[in-house]
């Protein structure tokens, strides 16, 4: 995997109540590129944050359907990754990432 791709995988941190709880269990939530794979994400996180990653879980968030006067529309969805860091590693300053 080339260097360029590394920077394109992670789109940004995903800060919600659920993500905040997950952070307590050493899991950090990212929005990632819709075609990103688990190994890619693992490598990207390890390279950019310089932390050891234990495992990665991914899922696709569907956009909400919205009805307007012009009919039914779809909002954009995104791909989300739960990154579990290896025991002993923590990510501080999380919301500031990319």
């Amino acid at each position: 995997m080339n260097q360029e791709r590394l920077f394109k995988v992670l789109l940004g941190p995903h800060m919600t109540e659920k993500a905040a709880f997950a952070a307590e269990n050493n899991q950090y939530v990212f929005k990632v590129a819709s075609d990103a794979t688990k190994p890619e994400i693992k490598k990207a996180v390890e390279a950019l944050f310089d932390k050891k990653v234990d495992r990665v879980q991914v899922l696709n968030m569907k956009g909400k359907t919205k009805r307007t006067a012009h009919g039914v529309g779809m909002r954009k969805g995104y791909r989300k990754a739960y990154v579990t860091l290896a025991a002993g590693e923590t990510l501080e300053d999380f919301s500031g990432a990319e």
């Binding site: 995903h14 800060m15 109540e17 993500a19 905040a20 952070a23 300053d93 919301s95």
Partner: protein
């Protein structure tokens, strides 16, 4: 909390204060807890944002805010502890401001100078003594008559002091020029309201005369095309009027508020007014000198912040006097114009306050009331004025400081040598006038600011 004071100059102080880290951090944490309740953040319900997130986002702002407040608080405690009496606002700068470390800040301020009142013993004060004699009264009545003079048509040659009603038309060579024409213009001979030479040549004309006048416009005449030119005026005289002074009779006297037209009473009234005027002038003059002497005897340093305040006030006053309107930006006026005056006013104010303090001068409610009543006499409805003054705490304080000031000046006068100087009525008024123009316009205000 630890505070130390450095004396950098006679009135400048540097206060260094240290606040323990625990106190600061605790205050910050408490403030963060408060903010957490009200933070709205995408992805979180209100009040459910975890502390870690709040801290990350708002930590710095909250800390700055808290530190600012703490510095102000501790500044106040520090100066109370060190019993400093600051003039104006301090400038506060944090030197160490990091979480986990003791907060340290430096406040630079100026204090009111400590005044050791030097007495003005030995300084001489001239007190004009002027009596109003009959000649003065006659003169005053003469002035009043002149002010009420009427013009009456006479059938004789016009002389200086007469008013002539004329039509005139001016020519440069043969050409009439713009603005050189008028009809029924009323001109007082000798009033110098026209081009030099014009009025003089009109002397001796009678009603219905027609004459020609040759004048040369002065070189510095405001209309450029006319300046220095020779012009001819055709003048037609309609009427010659002489000034007719009103007789001092019942009618005339009534105008001045003496209802029954009694001439004796009128004289008495005039005398009373004049005496009051002289008294005021004399009082003012004496006060002026006393304050001046006080200032010379006590050269005290003045905090710049006070001077700035005073300068600002003076500027605003000046702006008002020139009729510049409320929305005029006074900062446009140069400070230098007012700085000197402001300084002397602040000095006088501080010194007077000190005099009042040293001699434990106070004004009782009765005295205030008496003064208000005296003031109220000048108004149409004294009762209303009295009520207005006594009800309003601010007005009352103003009156009080005026009384205090009077008393302070009296005290000063006891110290000084007061020399009586004989003067005529006119001289006394003039002398007071001059001083007023030179130095002060109202140091009532300065004193009331400080007391």
């Amino acid at each position: 909390m630890q505070a130390s004071v450095e004396t950098t100059s006679q009135i400048a102080r540097r206060v260094t204060v240290q606040v323990p880290a625990a106190e600061v951090d605790q205050a910050v944490a408490a403030r963060l807890q408060d903010t957490a309740k009200n933070v709205r953040l995408n992805g979180f319900r209100q009040g459910r944002v975890p502390m870690a997130v709040v801290k990350q986002r708002y930590g710095r702002d909250v800390r700055n805010e808290v530190v600012g407040e703490l510095m102000r608080q501790h500044y106040v405690t520090a100066i109370t502890e060190q019993s400093l009496n600051p003039a104006g606002y301090p400038s506060i700068e944090p030197t160490v401001n990091e979480s986990g470390k003791d907060l340290e800040f430096v406040a630079t301020l100026e204090v009111y100078p400590e005044i050791e009142l030097a007495s003005i013993e030995g300084s001489e004060i001239e007190r004009p003594v002027a009596t109003v004699n009959d000649a003065d009264i006659e003169q005053m009545i003469e002035t009043l008559r002149k002010q009420n003079a009427a013009w009456e048509a006479v059938d004789r040659a016009a002389a200086e002091g007469d008013q002539v009603k004329v039509d005139f038309k001016g020519f440069l060579g043969d050409e009439p020029f713009e603005g050189g024409e008028a009809e029924g213009h009323e001109l007082v001979l000798g009033s110098n309201s026209f081009i030099p030479g014009f009025e003089e040549q009109l002397a001796g004309v009678k009603a219905n005369d027609e004459t020609e006048i040759k004048v040369t416009f002065p070189e510095d005449y405001q209309a450029e095309h006319l300046a220095g030119q020779e012009a001819t005026f055709q003048v037609k005289v309609h009427q010659v009027s002489a000034q007719k002074l009103p007789e001092v009779d019942a009618e005339f006297i009534k105008q001045f508020g003496v209802e029954d037209g009694d001439i004796e009473k009128f004289h008495g009234e005039v005398r009373k007014n004049m005496e009051r005027e002289v008294q005021q002038a004399v009082d003012n003059r004496v006060k002026q000198q006393a304050l001046e002497a006080l200032k010379t005897a006590n050269d005290i340093p003045v905090p710049t912040s006070l001077i700035e305040q005073e300068t600002d006030g003076l500027k605003r006053q000046a702006a008002q006097q020139f009729g510049l309107g409320d929305d005029f930006d006074v900062s446009q006026l140069p400070n230098e114009l007012f700085a000197e005056q402001a300084k002397s006013r602040v000095q006088v104010g501080l010194l007077l306050a000190e005099v009042i303090k040293v001699h434990e001068i106070d004004a009782s409610d009765d005295e205030i009331k008496a003064k208000v009543e005296e003031l109220a006499q000048q108004y149409q409805q004294p009762e209303e004025v009295i009520e207005y003054y006594l009800k309003d705490e601010k007005m009352k304080n103003q009156v009080k400081s005026a009384i205090l000031e009077e008393k302070a000046v009296d005290k000063l006068l006891e110290q000084a040598q007061v020399k009586d100087v004989e003067m005529s009525y006119e001289q006394a008024l003039q002398a007071a006038q001059q001083q007023q123009d030179g130095e002060e316009d109202s140091d009532d205000e300065t004193a009331s600011d400080k007391t």
